[in-house]
Symmetry: C2
Subunit: 351 residues, 2 copies
DNA sequence: CCTAATATTTGGACCGTTCCAAATTTGGTA
DNA sequence: TACCAAATTTGGAACGGTCCAAATATTAGG
């Protein structure tokens, strides 16, 4: 039950040196004599000294607070939790601690949280922005010279670094895979048309369709909420058109699951009568029935690389905005009809 | 791009008052005249002032740093991510921020992280302890008078508050449910015998068996790693015994999934030929085939209540250790053989 | 044994805010 | 108009470190 906090002067007194010397020991300076150092260290241990980083930061003029802020839009979503873990790994081993907050897609929450982090003097921020985040929301940070890395979703117009996955490439590969299985009528389901991510994935789809000499058919593109419910709705709409698709690329895995539901409700078996590909490779993708073929994005790796980028910018004086696109990998499972055991692909014309 | 940081004296100067007055405004004191307050506030806005909480904490002697630490053993696990989100909710709306770190079950990591948080002057800690955490690990915190709430797993001997789920009750209810479906030979699979959680769940099992006048048979209890692999192994062992069980309570959902694998490998269909109940209600439980009957524990609710408890202790002077047991709910799905549609239960004697 | 170097230690100012006691202003009343 | 109480405002000392220039100790060379 230590009454008062132990401070450097306490241990200076006890060790018979000045507080300056204690401070020197604290920062591992080579200026201090070894015997002094050991004596001081011993006293620190004995008295149960705990370093007060807040006090230190006060004098050391902001920059190196050893705190980095992490703000995610939905920690409940395994994808973002993994991202945070990836960040934590590198941040922690670089001797920083992370301030983590969850915004639940609320812009107000996000604003509050970022403000609070500023007050605590974070030396950098990794942000997976809530939907609708504008460049203006990040303005105060960047004009204060605090490095910011946005992850997953880009913030148009903001002069900050970003780490995003290769949306174009992922969908491109998925389409080509479906084409190689014999499909010619491939739909693109789900996602909100106003987001950058949607545009990128859709461009990947269009480019692949064009690259395979297939006719572009805008009716095959149906946008909807990027959720299970949205997928259900989207597949319904896709099956209404005259020349029905035999396969679909889904905006993300949740949409793909919804599409499964919708297919089954119509007596169509996904993976057998209809091919489906998702995006993200969420945790349930591999255990679902049928196991979902999807584009895997390694959120933890993104977190790690994002954190590395941030740390680099922190140590460099002026942060030079930089964008990393994280590459992506098609994971072939059952829902696209190409079983790994080499079973013959489902006949693509039947629906 | 503001060169130097704006401080209270800057705004005092600009507003033509003293820094004391500015400080008063900052803390919303009623001592300051309204016209002064508005003028000062305006200047703060104009100059882009940001409050320096570190400096404030320095003077305000520790207690109210507005930071609470959250340490979880595995953020990748949806269960703990939900827990953290629950904590964040109440912590955030109480004007605190959370320092979150992940230990990946490493005691060293945990030690480092807790030390680092102390240096940052957290006013309380919520800890989901890594396996093997000893009371001694928390000693420094409690003797410094910092409130600690451990969640999910208890730390034996530590004089701290705890919030744990009602393990006894959950398993008790599960066993009674199986008995009501006609089962008489019910196994208990998985879990490490040396953990408190295991003991509690096993006690629930034993008490329910006894309460239903069924013979206690220790060979029906097989411990194994609390993982999918452990479940696979455990079910294999359980099926070796002469008078085979027709149902099993699994230590957690992962074990239950492993048990499913094991049953299928022997041509036994879980949910039809054999009843299985899990614990935790992880996210895959409801989408698995068959959907898993399990004991649901609402991690987010636990997080919220744990945080409330912590905040209470922070505002109270001396933390009085207190234990909350969070109640638990049996979610009946398909794996126990009792379909919600009222189909007749599987014949319990056949295996 | 003295002196210049080199190695080590030290006093005090300072970081941005809060707190306290004292000073100043304001308002009401005799 | 003088005087007292209430309402506001204010200077300066903390808080617990770091930093710098200057002081002191030690060592080597002559």
């Amino acid at each position: 039950m230590g009454k008062a906090r132990v401070t450097v002067v306490d241990i200076a007194k006890a060790a018979g040196v000045s507080k300056s010397t204690v401070s020197l020991v604290l920062q591992g300076s080579s200026l201090v004599n070894d015997v002094t150092r050991t004596k001081v260290s011993a006293v620190m241990r004995d008295l149960g000294y705990v370093y007060n980083r807040g006090a230190a930061n006060l004098r050391q003029a902001g920059a190196n607070s050893k705190i980095i802020g992490v703000v995610v839009n939905d920690l409940t979503n395994g994808f973002f939790a993994e991202l945070a873990v990836g960040v934590d790994m590198v941040v922690q081993s670089a001797g920083f601690v992370q301030f983590l907050s969850n915004t639940s897609e609320s812009l107000d929450r996000q604003r509050e949280v970022i403000a609070s982090m500023r007050e605590h003097g974070i030396s950098g921020l990794i942000l997976s922005p809530a939907r609708g985040t504008k460049a203006a929301d990040l303005k105060p940070l960047v004009s204060a010279g605090i490095p910011v890395v946005v992850a997953v979703r880009n913030v148009p117009g903001a002069k900050v670094s970003a780490i995003v996955s290769d949306n174009h490439d992922g969908v491109f590969a998925a389409v080509r895979h479906l084409v190689s299985l014999g499909h010619r009528r491939i739909a693109f389901l789900g996602g909100f048309g106003d987001t950058a991510v949607f545009k990128e994935r859709l461009d990947g789809y269009r480019d692949a369709i064009a690259g395979c000499q297939l006719p572009a058919d805008e009716t095959l593109i149906v946008d909807a909420a990027p959720s299970r419910a949205g997928g259900l709705e989207a597949i319904g709409q896709a099956l209404m058109i005259a020349d029905k698709p035999t396969a679909a690329i889904c905006f993300n895995d949740a949409v793909a699951f919804g599409a499964c539901d919708g297919l089954r409700a119509r007596g169509i078996e996904p993976g057998k009568d209809f091919a489906l590909v998702g995006f993200d490779d969420v945790i349930e993708a591999k255990t679902a029935v049928p196991a979902l073929t999807t584009v895997s994005v390694d959120p933890q790796g993104m977190g790690r690389r994002g954190a590395q980028l941030l740390l680099k910018q922190i140590s460099a004086g002026k942060p030079e905005p930089e964008t990393i696109v994280s590459s992506v990998r098609l994971v072939v499972r059952e829902s696209c009809g190409a079983s790994r055991e080499g079973a013959p692909p489902a006949a693509p014309q039947a629906v």
